[in-house]
Amino acid sequence: MAEVAIMADRRPGRLSGFARWFRSDPRGAVSLTFLVALVAVSTLAPWVAPQSPTAQDFNAMMAPMSAEHWLGADDLGRDVLSRLIHGGMASLYASFLAVAVAVVIGVPVGLLAGYLGGWVDAVISRIIDSFLSFPAIVLAIAVTGALGIGLTNGMISVGIVFAPQLARLVRARTLVVRHELYVDSARCFGASTSRILWRHVLPNTIQPVIVQVTLLLAGALLAEASLSFLGLGIQPPNASWGAMLARAYQNMEIAPEQMYPPGLAILLTALAFNGLGESLRVALDPTMKRR
């Protein structure tokens, strides 16, 4: 804590501040490194993956690990490592899409409720409470069923389900910020409501949002895996980690080792998102920085 305070006092360049954080917080550093590597590998999937994720090699069905298939091959003779890399792209895309939807809906709603107050706040807060009383995945399944099955629709549903969590967080922060002196003075100078919200309130609510978004990414990743596992997400022959687990489940009695690569990939990535989120919570905590 003391270290962070001193760091903020001296106001060093952003880069050296980042370097110091990187060295002082091993968990955050490992998480961030893992995620950066994962995003890089997934984005470059077509070039990095040794084989096509959908190419079937009937001589390699259920093949164990080998020089040709590093992680073996699945029941249709498809290279597991290649599917894992391509599946990572799908799973990450899905997670970012869901969280983006949640931010686009949740942040403005939370800002308006917190800033306007009164009956607007009362109505929005009741709506948020109502959404939060749904078991998340159950509502996402129902919304996906209505919109039509598929990865994009599934993750839009997850985003809708996550939005109230962000809205509640932003509302609570806005309630604190809107009575700060700098907001009052902006109002006195005749700034419009939208300008006050955009220039003064939003920047001061953003730090907890960043933390929550990182944690929600882990939730979205698990939600994608669940939906695809249930057959409501990505459709075959495309790979996502959840869909790979569904396939492995079908063949569990013959080839139980098929469930390890995708399961571990989900676990490690969710751990990394959560680890980064917790580190950011400490690093960005405004009470630690300002005082």
């Binding site: 009741r126 709506i127 409470d129 109502s130 959404f131 009383s133 749904f134 078991p135 998340a136 995945i137 159950v138 509502l139 399944i141 129902a142 919304v143 996906t144 069923g145 209505a146 919109l147 039509g148 099955i149 882990a218 698990l222 895996a225 669940s226 596992f229 249930l230 057959g231 409501l232 687990l245 492995a248 489940y249 569990m252 009695e253 139980p256 469930m259 399961g263 989900i266 676990l267 969710a270 751990l271 959560n274 680890g275």
Partner: protein, 317 residues
């Protein structure tokens, strides 16, 4: 607290639950509005005759204003009529009555495991803050939050059912048929489900205990010469027991969601299988019925914990 103020608290909470109940049932009903295109055509399925489409339009009152439709639907739902499945034409209430016990058994068992394991872990971690034990508990908690519980279920099946042959891999037996059979089928899914719950309970309990153990009040008790264990058991736990209620109601919501996926792994004929199958086949009365019942359960649990919370903690009321 006097009896009249107790009933006042309960009455106030009941009244406050009404808008949430109305809004959430409205959301359930409004799900139909998300269906692209003409709902009646979509609901009737492929190659439906015009007569069938007209019948469905009438059945759902789709020719009437939306709020009227909602009112009629809610009125029937509150009287135990959730319409019929489009696929099997079984009454939705009957399907739910058949499936819900299997789901509840797993959820309640998972909740018990989460509390039985999570509470001691949380207390142990908080009482030895920053020790290796604390580190171990926090590591378990991080893993428990991040692990996909259906994958954990698959690992459990592979180990305990397929390799060791100790427990049945899939299926479910109802409690009324055989208590032993029901429990032996429910224990693996409950374990898979409980991982996240154990993590949640341990984490929350640890952080609220740590906060109290660092408070002024506890510092005074230290200064007065009270032993650390007496402080922990007599003052610390008394103060966090209220927080635990909040965790339980949150956890119930989470478990109810997670069980939907875990049920698929263990082929349990519960609410999860019911809603997933209905969502895939766009059997909307069933989807709405399942979500409706689940929301009712969550709202009821929130209400009960809320009232207990108010009664237990005089500072709030």
């Amino acid at each position: 607290m006097s009896l009249s103020s107790k009933s006042a608290v309960i009455g106030r909470r009941l009244v406050q639950a009404v808008p949430v109940l109305v809004l959430s049932t409205f959301i359930v009903f409004a799900l139909l509005k998300l269906v692209p295109g003409d709902v009646a055509v979509t609901l009737a399925g492929d190659n439906a005759s015009d007569a069938r489409i007209a019948e469905i339009r009438h059945l759902y009152g789709l020719d009437q204003p939306f709020l009227v439709q909602y009112g009629a639907w809610l009125w029937k739902a509150l009287h135990g009529d959730l319409s019929h499945s489009l696929l099997s034409s079984e009454a939705v209430v009957a399907s739910i009555a058949r499936c819900l016990p299997h789901t509840l058994l797993v959820v309640v068992l998972a909740m018990a495991l989460a509390l039985l394991i999570g509470i001691p872990l949380g207390i142990a971690a908080a009482s030895r803050q920053d020790s290796w034990l604390d580190g171990l508990v926090m590591t378990i908690a991080s893993l428990g939050v991040a692990v996909p519980n259906f994958w954990l279920g698959m690992l459990l099946v592979a180990l305990f059912a397929l390799d060791l042959n100790w427990l049945p891999a899939t299926g479910a037996v109802s409690l009324s048929q055989s208590v032993g059979g029901a429990l032996s089928h429910a224990i693996l899914p409950a374990c898979a489900l409980a991982a996240g719950g154990i993590a949640e309970v341990a984490r929350q309990l640890r952080s609220s205990l740590v906060e109290i153990l660092h408070s002024q009040q506890v510092r005074t008790l230290h200064a007065k010469g009270l032993s650390p264990s007496a402080i922990l058991w007599r003052h610390g736990l008394k103060n966090v027991s209220v927080n635990l209620l909040t965790v339980i109601s949150l956890l119930f919501n989470r478990l109810l969601a997670a069980t939907v996926v875990v049920e698929a792994v263990f082929a349990i004929p519960g609410m999860g299988g019911l809603i997933v199958n209905a969502a895939i086949h766009r059997d909307f009365p069933v989807v709405q019925g399942v979500v409706f019942v689940m929301v009712l359960i969550v709202v009821a649990i929130n209400l009960v914990t809320d009232i207990l919370y108010n009664l237990l903690d005089p500072r709030i009321a």
